[in-house]
Assembly symmetry: C2
DNA sequence: AATCGTTATATATTTATGGGTATAACGAAA
DNA sequence: TTTCGTTATACCCATAAATATATAACGATT
């Protein structure tokens, strides 16, 4: 009698999980972290404040922003220094498109994961 | 006029990629690395030789094996010490089931990634 | 000119990860 | 009892990654 996957795994809460991202030439470009950061920049108008809300160092947040702007054809974050409020940042229309696409992508991925996980239980 | 994803990304070779694994209570349990290791243990009859073929330290390989055996309901690797050849290891029927399932899972995942990537080009 | 909070950048420090090395235990066979 | 290659485990070190700290530049407003 052939052993089943369920016998191998037992009754633990096993499930299929994973991560998705968009890459270019093998270099990771766009994942959940950047998406959240972009949304918070949009809400706060500042990389600095967005980083704090994500409990990220400003440096790390800036690196993410810089990477996004370097790899994309069009800048995703528009930054400005100086001025009354010291400067600030906004996100571009292209960024909104990417966020929207990524959201729907994640929904499809979640459905995939749920379907696969069901096979284990 | 709304900007498209293609405009945001430009003509670079962007694609959707990702990683999959099986987890239990949030702890990663089974991924591509363990699968390859199990297959090599099956071929060589030894954790030590399997580690060398994967260019992995024996220590790391043993940790993977130990983790697999600890988390699964049934042992996936059966080890023995001493004897004519110093000992050795074999994989269980449950391990073969998991390898087989994981292979088909990855095929379905790859199809998902290809389908999503096509939307970017 | 002084002020403000931000962007932008360099440098140092701490933390995590993996690898290297060493060693004991094992048990069948000679 | 000696030999063998393996499993099993502890300990230290090197490299990488995340984090912390410090500082300059910016420019509209006052």
């Amino acid at each position: 009698m052939a052993k089943t996957i369920k016998q191998a795994l037992g009754e633990g809460a096993f499930r299929v999980n994973g991560k998705l991202w968009i890459e270019s030439n093998g270099k990771r470009f766009f994942g959940p972290g950047p998406v959240e950061l972009l949304e918070l920049i949009d809400q706060t108008g500042s990389i600095n404040q967005a980083a704090k809300k994500m409990k990220l160092s400003y440096k790390k947040a800036w690196e993410i922003v810089n990477n996004l702007n370097t790899m994309a054809a069009q800048p995703l974050v528009i930054t400005s220094t100086g001025g009354e409020k010291g400067g600030g940042s906004t996100i571009s229309e292209e960024a909104r498109q990417l966020i929207s696409y990524h959201r729907s992508l994640r929904e499809r991925f979640q459905a995939f994961l749920d379907k696969e996980s069901a096979k284990l239980g």
